[in-house]
Amino acid sequence: AQSVTQPDIHITVSEGASLELRCNYSYGATPYLFWYVQSPGQGLQLLLKYFSGDTLVQGIKGFEAEFKRSQSSFNLRKPSVHWSDAAEYFCAVAPLLTGGGNKLTFGTGTQLKVEL
C-alpha cells in the first residue's frame, strides 16, 4: 500500500528565510505527487503537482518542489517565506491510474509557523 511520510510535524522559520518541507513516499512506481496548503478556516488549496517530465515543479505563491526518484522524495521549497505562508502543508500521492480517480493518500501534515 502506498504511504506518505512528512517527518516534520512543526517547523518555525523567520520571515524572509528559506523553507524546505520534507515529503517521502512509498509506492511501487512513480505516483502522481501533490502539495496542498490548508489555512485556518479554509479548505485545502493545491500548491503544485508532479506527473512527469521536469522534476522541478513550479507552483503558486512562489513555491516549488523537486521530485527525486532515487530518494522517493518530493520536498517543497520556497526561497523567502512571508508571514502569510503560516499554515499547514500536506503532501499527497495518487496512483498512476486513469479513469479510476485520483484517490489521494495524504501525509500527516507539517504545521508552519512564521516568526516576524
Binding site: 480517480g101 484517490k103 495524504f106
Partner: protein
Amino acid sequence: GAGVSQSPSNKVTEKGKDVELRCDPISGHTALYWYRQRLGQGLEFLIYFQGNSAPDKSGLPSDRFSAERTGESVSTLTIQRTQQEDSAVYLCASSMTSGGAADTQYFGPGTRLTVL
C-alpha cells in the same frame, strides 16, 4: 462559478444518532471525493463518485458510512449510529475529470463533526 461548498460547517451530535453531511461540487465537475481528517492526522480517502458509474467505496471504514450522489450534482454522506471515533472534519472535493494527469481536486471547507 463558486467553489465546492459543504453544509453544515459544524455539526454536534450525540452518540448513536445519524447525521447527514452535504457537498455541492463545482458545476461541471464529474468526479467527487469524500475524505476524513481526524485531529492531528492527514486526510483519509472515503469514497469516490464518477458520473453515473458505481462509486468506489473502498475507503469507507464501516457499514455505518454510506454516500449518495445523483448524477453530477450534490452528494450526501450519511453516518448512522455515530460513535465518538467518527469525530473529524469531513472534506469533499470535486474534479473535472476522473483521474490522470489532468485531475486537480478542489476541496470544500469541510464539515466539523463532533460526537458527544
